[in-house]
C-alpha cells in the first residue's frame, strides 16, 4: 500500500489526480487544502467530501501521516514550501508544472529532494501520450532523419475564470506564457534528450480580456525557442480558446525533419458532430488518459526505486525557458540562456 497525499486544491488538476488515485488499487489517498478560502465549494474539505477522499485539516496533520508520496497542486509560487516539507518527511514528490516561479525556488526544491533521497517529478503528462512515444521512438531510431524545426500550439481557455490566481503574476509567475509554454517545451526536452534551450524570444499581449477589465498578465503569446543543435521551436501558448467551446483547448505540434513532416495531436476528438441541445459543436474527447499514464510513471518509479521522468531538472530546464521568455518581453530581444556546460554555443 502506498500512501499518497494530494497537497492543495489550488490547481484545477488536483481534482483530476484525486479521482485517479482514489480509484486505484494499492493507494491510500489523503488530501489537504488548508489554505483554501473557507467558503469556496470547489476547494478544501467540501471538495474532498464530494470526491470521496480522506481529508486532513492542516499541513501538520497531513505530514504527520508520513505519506510515501505527495502530489503538489498548490499555486505555482507556493510549490516550494510544500516540496521542501515533503522531502523533509521522506516523501517522493510529483509537482504540478511549472515547477516554480523562480530558478532559486526550483533549485532549492531539487536540492531538498536530492538531499532527502526522494524523487522529484514534474507533472508534464503530454509526453506520456502513446502517439508521442511513437514519435520519440521514430526519431530515436533514425526513421525521420534529424529534427529541423517544430511549430506547435498549446491553447486553452483562460484558467483564471475558475481560479483567479492564474492571473496573479506573484502566485502564477506570469500568465499564458508561464502556463502554456512549458508543455511543448517539455516535449522538446523529451525529443532532444534534455538539451537545454540556448535562446528564447517572446512577444505577448493582453488583448483577450475574457470580457473583464484588462488582465494583469499576458493572455496571448508567441515564443520562439532555439536549441544548441540548431533546432527551433515556435510556440503559440495563448489562452485563446473560447471559454464556451465544448473542450478546454488542446495541444498540437508539427515536427519538420529531414525525411518527413510529422503532426502530433495530444487531444484529438474521438467524435464530432453537432449537439442540438446546447447549440454547439459536439466534441467527444479521444486519445489516451495522459494524467493516468503520468501517475503510472510516478507510482512505478516509487515502487521500483528508480528516478522518475521528467524529473525536477527537466522541470527547471523548461522553467528557464519561461523566465527567459519574460525577460525577452521586457527587453524586446531574444534572451540567451546560460549554457549548462559553460561552452558558448553558436
Amino acid at each position: 500500500m502506498v500512501r499518497v497525499a494530494v497537497l492543495s486544491f489550488a490547481h484545477v488538476h488536483a481534482a483530476t489526480y484525486i479521482e485517479l488515485l482514489r480509484d486505484r488499487d494499492g493507494i491510500e489517498l489523503v488530501t489537504a487544502d488548508p489554505d483554501a478560502p473557507p467558503d469556496d465549494p470547489t476547494r478544501g474539505r467540501r471538495l474532498a467530501e464530494r470526491l470521496g477522499a480522506a481529508y486532513a485539516g492542516t499541513w501538520d496533520e497531513v505530514f504527520a501521516l508520513r505519506p510515501d508520496a505527495v502530489v503538489v497542486t498548490s499555486e505555482n509560487a507556493r510549490h516550494r514550501h510544500l516540496v521542501e516539507r515533503a522531502a523533509a518527511t521522506g516523501a517522493h514528490v510529483l509537482c504540478e508544472k511549472p515547477l516554480a516561479t523562480t530558478e532559486a525556488d526550483a533549485r532549492a526544491m531539487i536540492d531538498a529532494c536530492e538531499r532527502a533521497g526522494v524523487s522529484l517529478m514534474t507533472a508534464y503528462p503530454v509526453r506520456f501520450s502513446p502517439a508521442f512515444t511513437a514519435l520519440r521512438s521514430a526519431f530515436a531510431d533514425g526513421l525521420l532523419g534529424a529534427l529541423i524545426s517544430v511549430h506547435g500550439a498549446n491553447n486553452g481557455s483562460n484558467p483564471a475564470r475558475s481560479r483567479p490566481w492564474f492571473a496573479d503574476p506573484e502566485l502564477a509567475g506570469g500568465g499564458a506564457l508561464a502556463d502554456h509554454t512549458v508543455h511543448i517545451a517539455d516535449l522538446m526536452d523529451a525529443l532532444l534528450d534534455g538539451e537545454q534551450a540556448a535562446e528564447v524570444y517572446a512577444q505577448a499581449n493582453s488583448i483577450l480580456d475574457d470580457g473583464g477589465p484588462v488582465p494583469d498578465v499576458d493572455t496571448a503569446g508567441l515564443v520562439t525557442i532555439r536549441y544548441p543543435s540548431g533546432v527551433v521551436a515556435a510556440v503559440d501558448c495563448s489562452w485563446s480558446h473560447p471559454p464556451d467551446h465544448p473542450t478546454w483547448g488542446g495541444l498540437a505540434m508539427t515536427c519538420v525533419s529531414e525525411k518527413a513532416i510529422v503532426e502530433f495531436d495530444a487531444f484529438p476528438p474521438l467524435l464530432g458532430g453537432f449537439d442540438s441541445t446546447t447549440g454547439r459543436d459536439r466534441w467527444e474527447a479521444g486519445g489516451a488518459d495522459l494524467d493516468a499514464a503520468m501517475l503510472d510513471e510516478f507510482l512505478d518509479s516509487i515502487r521500483s526505486g528508480r528516478r522518475p521522468s521528467p524529473d525536477g531538472e527537466a522541470g527547471l530546464r523548461t522553467l528557464r525557458i519561461v523566465l527567459a521568455a519574460y525577460e525577452s518581453l521586457r527587453t524586446g530581444q531574444p534572451v540567451a540562456l546560460p549554457d549548462p556546460l559553460g561552452v558558448t554555443s553558436g
Binding site: 511549430h151 512577444q203 515556435a234 480558446h241 473560447p242 519538420v256 513532416i261 524586446g332 530581444q333 531574444p334
Partner: protein, 341 residues
Amino acid sequence: MAELEVALIGAGGIARTHLPAWVALGARVRLYAPDGRAPALAQEFGATSVGSLPEAIAGAQVVDVCTPTDTHREITLSAVAAGAHVLCEKPLALNAAEAGEMADAAEEAGVKLYPGHVVRFFPAYARLRALVAGGGLGRVAVARFTRTGRYPTWSGWFADPARSGGILTDQMIHDMDIARWLFGDVVRVHARQQGHLTAPAPEGAVATGTAVLTHVGGTLTQIVGVWGPPATPFRTTFHVSGTGGTVQHDSQAHVDLRITGTSGDGPAEGIPAGDFGRSPYLTQIQEFAEAFTGGPEPRVSARDGEAAVRIAEAAAESARTGRAVEISAHPTAVATEGIGW
C-alpha cells in the same frame, strides 16, 4: 475589356499560371524568356514568342514580370521607362530600397505597378480579411499562418538566397503580406531559418523558417514556412484568435475532390492550383487588368509590395543577426488599409 497587349516575361511555373489567365481575359500576349522555354509555352496557349526583352516590351500596354526575383527591378524599370503598366511577381525585389525605387519610378512615369501577392485573391484569405475587417473576430490577439510545400528544387534559383532571398523572403512573404493586410503595419520582427539554406539544393533538401511579427496595434502573428521533402503536398493553414472567437483554415481539410489510391504517386505539385472554383490567379489578373484599363484600384498596391519586402528584409536581418528588428514608420509608406486598432 479592350484587348490588352501584354508582354509576359519568363516561362517558368508562375508564367504558366498567368498566361492562361491573360488568354482567358482576351489579351494578346507576347512571351519572352531568356532560358529558351518561351516558344513551347506560347504555343501551348496560343500566344506569341519573341526573341528579346526589348522586342517584348515595345508597344506592350502591360508587362507581366514572372522571372527570378533578382531580375524584377531591371525588367520593371525597363517596362516603366517604356510607358507600360507592370504586374510584377512577388517579392517585388530582394530589398525594400529596390522595391521603393520601382514604386517611385512607376509613380513618376504615371503607370501602375502591382505586386503579385496572389494569396490576397485566394478565397479563404479574402474571406478572412472580410471577417476581420467586419469585426467578426472582435479585437485580434494572435494569429498563426503556415505554408508548406515541397522544396522548390525544380528551379535552381529558389534555393539561392542571392536570387530569391530564400524561404523567408520568397515563400513566407506571402503570409507577411496577409498579416499586414489584416492587422496593420509591423513594428518588430524576429525570424529564424534552418535546414538547407544554400544553392544548390539537392532533391530531398528541407528548409523551414519561423517569424514572429508584432503589429502596431499589438496583434501578434506567427508565420511558419516549410520547404519539405519531395512528396510534401502543398498546404496552407491559418488560425486567428480574437475577443470575438477564432477562425481557422486548412487547405487540405475540406477539399472539393480527393483522389487517393492511384499508384506511382510522383513528387507533389509545387505550385498550388487552387480549388475547383475560379483560379485565384485569374481573379488577380482580372482585377489588375481592370485597373490598368482605368478601373478601380485593386486590393494590393506597389507600396503594399514594398512594405511586404521591408518585413521580409527585417526577417532576413533578424535571422542573420539573431536580433529582433524594429521597423520604423517609413516616409514613402502609406498606411495599410489593414484594420488598425
